[in-house]
């Protein structure tokens, strides 16, 4: 602790002022070249140009330009973002950083300019589909190539410099500027959603789509004022207050929060249009799947890549038991039952399949297990698709005419997404409750022990085989909830709904949200499925549907590299992942610095004290 006070004391005096051009030029050029490669790649994927038709601010700005030029801004920011090591001299933020950001941006922009110039010189449209005039016109802002060449460099340099100059602003101003920018973009992007939820808001938008410039400025100013007047701080304070609560006070707060959110979820679908209801229903189905996978991957640490198998089994079992159009080979006595009866059988079936798939793989080591579960997922899909079982599952034609789920008072069917949403809500509540109780149960603790170290868990007397098998079964049953609802919602079921893709998207939800954290899973499914969309279901940003898989892949890599614990991390899990760093930091600093500039300090804050104590 004494060491810590010393270092913080000397921190201020260690700052060094450097000249504006005292830079590591080679490093800057290299970063700029990477930026250029990124920009050219993005342009050639056709994403910016494809999104150009979506206007954000009526005549000036389209989503296409935002989707391309966010890159120099972020790179400019990160170039000037210096990791200050304890005890080392820090550089005072100065004009130097702005120059660095500008240089990197300019090099990146030069890449785009080169692309513009090359498109008219060479014709390699044959392999590269987006190597064409419309990309060129888009990049040169429809003003001719020579304008574009200059404008790209200037714009990227400007954005890079702006990104870097954010560091120069006082903290409060910086937050205000960033929140103003984000608010404008968000209000513009979520136009259809906002209008769908609250029709009066349509005065913000022009008839052809996009914010009216005046209102864009107003939204920005409002966000600016809100943050400057301390709105953000107040929210942050309330949050940290909540996080430090314990005992009955916390329980009370929790109850209030849960009641409020349930009320909100019941009311929202009543006031919104069909599109939003459909969206919520899809989010709910993927939330169910993600909650199940969270138990397998997040709690027990078993990487199951064939999770879609259980979804498929759930869907097909319900379909076979309810639809008159199931295959002709089922024996006469085989029953047809209402949805709720089929649902109960489905749970049983999924549990059995979970046991059947789980038993052979449970003793394999982690990565073999991943591939074998993937294989099982494929085998099950191939069997549903095959001619061999055509008489039972109709092969590629699938099972159609699945009747809606009839509950007497109301029916749950695909044409009424609100009813689907309410059904999903009930199941999600059950799943969340089950996950939450399990996490704190003996079994849940055993899962976490197995996740951290299987041999040690075994030595502590945990029957690892049974415990892991239980994870499989519980995960399978939760997935079958989703399958059952899915078949009632869609009304027909095909093998193509159960590609490996689905498994991977569920995995991305769990990982981006935060493995092992229920709130994280909810956030993950709302952000990913709600905004980007599921494997086949469009999200809020329907424009992204062509590009969302690329974004999913990039997001998965980026999360793993930068933040493997997810957006909303589980304290224990992030401690496991960052153990080395924590120990090193603790050794270096004597305590973990929770005033981390990068903003992940707040979440890690609750982890740090225990570790620092353990290390010192």
């Amino acid at each position: 602790m004494t060491l810590a006070t010393e270092t913080t004391g000397t921190k201020a005096s260690n700052e060094v002022v450097r000249g504006a051009f005292d830079l590591d030029w080679r490093d800057l050029i290299r970063t700029g070249a990477i930026l250029a490669a990124g920009l050219v790649f993005l342009s050639l994927t056709g994403m910016p140009e494809g999104l150009d038709s979506r206007v954000l601010i009526d005549p000036f700005l389209s989503l296409g330009y935002v989707s391309l030029f966010w890159l120099p801004l972020i790179v400019g920011w990160s170039v000037a973002n210096e990791k200050v090591l304890e005890g080392m001299a820090a550089t005072r933020k100065s004009a130097r950083d702005v120059v660095a950001g500008g240089v990197v941006g300019a090099v990146g922009g030069a890449g785009l300019s080169l692309l513009i110039a090359l498109i008219s010189t060479f014709d390699i449209r044959d392999p590269l589909v987006n190597w064409n005039e419309s990309t060129q016109a888009f990049l040169s802002f429809q003003q001719g190539t020579s304008f574009g060449i200059v404008a790209c460099i200037a714009l990227c340099a400007g954005l890079g410099a702006f990104g870097a100059s954010l560091h120069l602003m006082p903290r409060k101003v910086r937050r205000a500027v960033v929140s103003a920018l984000l608010a404008v973009v968000a209000v513009a992007i979520f136009e259809s959603f906002l209008v769908d939820v609250a029709d009066p808001l349509s005065f913000l938008y022009s008839k052809t789509g996009g914010l009216i410039p005046l209102w864009a400025v107003m939204v920005g100013v409002a966000a600016l004022a809100f943050t400057l007047l301390g709105g953000g701080d107040r929210i942050g304070k309330a949050r940290s207050n909540y996080q430090t609560l314990t005992g009955p006070a916390k329980a009370k707060q929790d109850t209030i929060l849960i009641v409020l959110s349930v009320l909100a979820l019941i009311i929202i679908p009543m006031i919104t249009g069909k599109i939003t209801q459909e969206l919520l229903a899809n989010v709910g189905i993927f939330l169910l799947l993600a909650l199940g996978l969270n138990i397998v991957v997040g709690l027990a640490g078993i990487l199951d890549l064939g999770y879609v198998a259980f979804f498929a089994v759930g869907g097909y079992t319900t379909a076979v038991l309810t639809s008159p159009n199931r295959g002709p080979d089922w024996p006469e006595w085989f029953p047809t039952m209402p949805w709720w009866g089929a649902f109960l059988v489905t749970l049983l079936m999924a549990g059995l399949v979970g046991l059947f798939i789980g038993a052979p793989v449970i003793r394999m080591r982690g990565d073999y297990l991943a591939i074998v579960t993937l294989g099982f997922g494929e085998i099950i899909r191939i069997l549903f698709l095959s001619d061999w079982l055509n008489g039972y599952f109709n092969g590629a034609q699938g099972i159609t005419n699945i009747p809606p789920a009839d509950f007497g008072l109301f029916e749950v069917k695909g044409t009424d997404p609100r009813s689907v949403f309410y059904l999903v809500l009930v199941f999600a509540a059950i799943s969340i409750y089950v996950s939450w109780r399990l996490e704190r149960s003996r079994l849940g603790r055993a899962w976490m022990a197995v996740r951290e170290d299987e041999s040690v868990a075994e030595a502590m007397g945990i029957n690892t085989v049974n415990v892991k098998l239980m994870a499989f079964v519980v995960g399978a049953v939760l997935a079958s909830f989703a399958g059952s609802v899915f078949s009632a919602k869609v009304g027909s079921i095909f093998p193509t709904s159960f590609l490996i893709l689905v498994s991977i998207i569920i995995l991305v939800i769990v990982i981006v949200g935060g493995m092992g954290n229920i709130v994280g899973i909810i956030v993950g499914s709302v952000v990913l499925v709600g905004i980007l969309g599921g494997p086949k279901q469009p999200g809020l940003l329907a424009e992204f549907s062509e590009y969302k898989l690329l974004i999913y892949g990039a997001l998965l890599i980026w999360m793993m590299l930068q933040r493997p614990e997810g957006l909303v991390p589980n304290a224990r899990r992030s401690r496991e992942l960052h153990q080395d760093e924590f120990l090193q930091d603790a050794w270096l600093k004597g305590k973990v610095d929770d005033a981390d500039e990068n903003g992940n300090g707040a979440e890690n804050g609750d982890v740090a004290p225990g570790l620092a104590g353990g290390a010192s």
Binding site: L303, R365, G366, A370, I371, G375
Partner: protein, 375 residues
Amino acid sequence: MTTATRVKGAGRTNVDRFLTLLRVFLIGLIVIGLLAFIWQQIDPGNPFARWTHDGEAANRLTADQFQGLVVTGLSQGAMYGLIALGYSMVYGVLGFINFAHGEVFMVAAFTGFIMANKLDDAGYWEGGSFIPAVLFTVLICTLVATLTAVVMERVAYRPLRGSPRLIPLITSIGVSFFIQNAVILLFGPGAKSYPSNPDWLGEKRTFLQLEGTKILVIVVAAISMAGLWYFVERTKTGKAMRAVAEDKEIASLMGINVDRTIVTTFAVGGAMAGIAGILWGLLFRSVIATTGFLPGIKAFTAAVVGGVGNLGGAMAGGVSLGSAEALAPLVLLEPLGVDGVSQLRDAVAFTLLILVLLVKPTGLFGERLSSEDRA
């Protein structure tokens, strides 16, 4: 392995009993299928065949058909083997499954498509200039594949060295997904066809009735394999690779540049996948962005079948998997009265993976892993 850590005499659990049952079932299936096949070959109208085929006689497989299946299996398997080498080497050195290795293969096949079409437009993809054109294409494909693998390592895997085991695996899933979709967006989603091969390559030889392309695939794979064996076993870099696979820390103490060796491993694995990619293109003459996924998974299966970390095993595993995949549907499943057997090829490959891991988890030829704990 965790199996070894179980207490002796703790008694058999229900899981063990179930697994024994599963092993017996799978092996029994193979035995019965084989017997049924032999009986069917001797007498197509035998009672068992009539029973499984709804009272009709089974179709006897002709010698030509059988030979065709074997050659298809071998050429297919040779490609799996080439890809499997990359899995095996990376697994040996870094201890994780590079899920995105199949995409390296796909990128090579795509490069081959671009090169082949350009060369065809220029009139080099036929006649006497065909062989130099193919060699040039192979060279470029190998270079591109190597580059892809190296960039992949640098961007996605190097920062993760030393993190928990599953983290790089999940990252590699992301990489695979990213490359696949990037290729779809850059080059369009449709299937791309290679220009047709010259007649002398495609036609059936009188000698053993084999197709030239398939022979080419087998021969090239054998040469690459021999080259790789020489590289790993006889050169200094190969020795360094083996040392790093054995123990990274000690290797670095012996003056081996571990980072560079790992990059070399990725590069060599990528080169092998590159060769496999262009061979795939020549054989099937069509490539699509998802081409890499299934062969990738199957190549991993091949690596496991042969014993991970064992290079000869990877090749042997590839050939066994390819043959099993080509033969099993008609030799094992058809005699048992299963309909539409050709659709079940992939299922056969995955079942083989499960069977090998159940019966002999170290693969047919044993694993050659380091002494580090890999369980």
